[in-house]
């Protein structure tokens, strides 16, 4: 089941493209039939900004086996420049850099590799912004 699920989510995983409710503004990663918050029927496609700030983060010490190579890793709540909040893995950071309010940017990374023969799942992570 992993390949179809990965494939379906490519627009959001690769480019942060999803659907926003025309009525209440709620963002959805996959196109719902009606808004999951206000049940409005009109949604429009939107590409989220690729920069934002770190609102909160935690270091995951006890990681699933498939994340051994990046262990321990960090998960952050990122508030993008348009106010949308998303959860993301953080990458390429020194531990002393992480703090609330840190400016971050989306990068394209390997998220999960299905063994020696399976698919390589790509997607977004966030790293400290390079200016």
């Amino acid at each position: 089941m992993r390949v179809p699920r990965y494939w379906r989510n490519i627009p959001f995983r690769y480019r942060l493209v999803g659907w926003r409710c025309n009525h209440c503004g709620t963002f959805h990663q996959e196109k719902p039939i009606i808004c999951k918050r206000c049940r409005h029927r009109e949604l429009y496609e939107v590409e989220l900004p690729k920069t934002g700030k770190l609102v909160a983060y935690t270091i995951v010490q006890s990681t699933p086996k498939e994340f051994n190579l990046v262990s321990p890793y960090a998960i952050g709540l990122v508030e993008l420049d348009d106010g949308t909040r998303i959860l993301a893995q953080l990458t390429d950071f020194r531990e002393d850099e992480l703090r609330e309010g840190l400016r971050v940017e989306a990068v394209f990374r390997k998220i999960r590799v299905d063994g020696e023969q399976g698919i390589i799942e790509y997607g977004y992570k966030f790293r400290p912004l390079i200016e």
Binding site: I10, E47, L69, D92, V107, F108, K110, Y122, E131
Partner: protein, 349 residues
Amino acid sequence: MARVTGVAIHGYGGYVPRYRIRAEEIGRIWNRGDPELPVNEKTVAAPDEDATTMAVEAARIAVKMAGIDPRKIGAIHVGSESKPYAVKPTGTVVSAAIGAGTSLLAADLEFACKAGTEALQLITGLVETGRIEYGLAIGADTAQGRPGDALEFTAASGAAAFLVGSMDNAAVASIEAWCSYVTDTPDFWRRPNDRYPMHTARFTGQPAYFRHIIGAVKSLMDNDGYSLNDFDYFVFHQPNVKFPLAVAKSLGVDEKKIAPGLVADVLGNTYSACSLLGLVKVLDSALPGQAILLASYGSGAGSDAFVIRVLEGISEKRERVPKLSSLINDKIYVDYAVYLKFREKISMR
């Protein structure tokens, strides 16, 4: 080869990972001292990076600089010798990640360290004939050196992308001419199921690197009416620091014209991205009107040489993205053990 007409670079992007390992740290493990070290340090891809992710990062910078709608891109060629898949194209992933359309020629290329410049030649041809409006040429590699081998000091990771289209007033640089020089020379190879390449040391220098680069450069001079004095910068493939300096010396090129595009000392040899990252670095500071001679080298063997002239549009466009030097200078050093982990050289079974 006739000169190219009406083709220009509209955006370019260089990407290197944040991690570095110092050559002396590799030398500490394998008992090699300072005078033998070919570079100061090299880039190390993070465990969540591969040639495809770096190709995407470079492409995003190039598209942002160009400021064009990515759906106008008609071809993406990615040159790499470290494709994450044996069978599954890289160009399609890049296309989806930058938001290009589906009416697109996506093809991957391999020719050791010169696959990236081949991509640039093919895109140039497609634009020149009017077959596509814009095309993206990318060189990207996570080069592998066998632990303890001489290549381990230099085999590095990086990517460079060039968004090419028809000439207009906003273009960054024109591509005036290109030519190639190839022979069947067994200096370096990797068989399909092997992880690390083999190389025949006695072939590496004179019969391989020097013969082909000088052959390609001379062909440009003799057949396209250029003289070495016409150029403000020279960028040669950089498997180490010594070779590009030596080829410049044998051509009689002033070291000052090659220094701005030298990146191997701080990045290592980024294979398909190597000479193109040198070009990115030069473009980051070159002035409109200046001319650049670029010559790649790929084992097996061949060299692609280009004449590139900087245009007025560069001044405004290159301010849209961070300079390559900001990526080069922003680094985290790792020791040899972390390097082994990151590059998956530790057997977990």
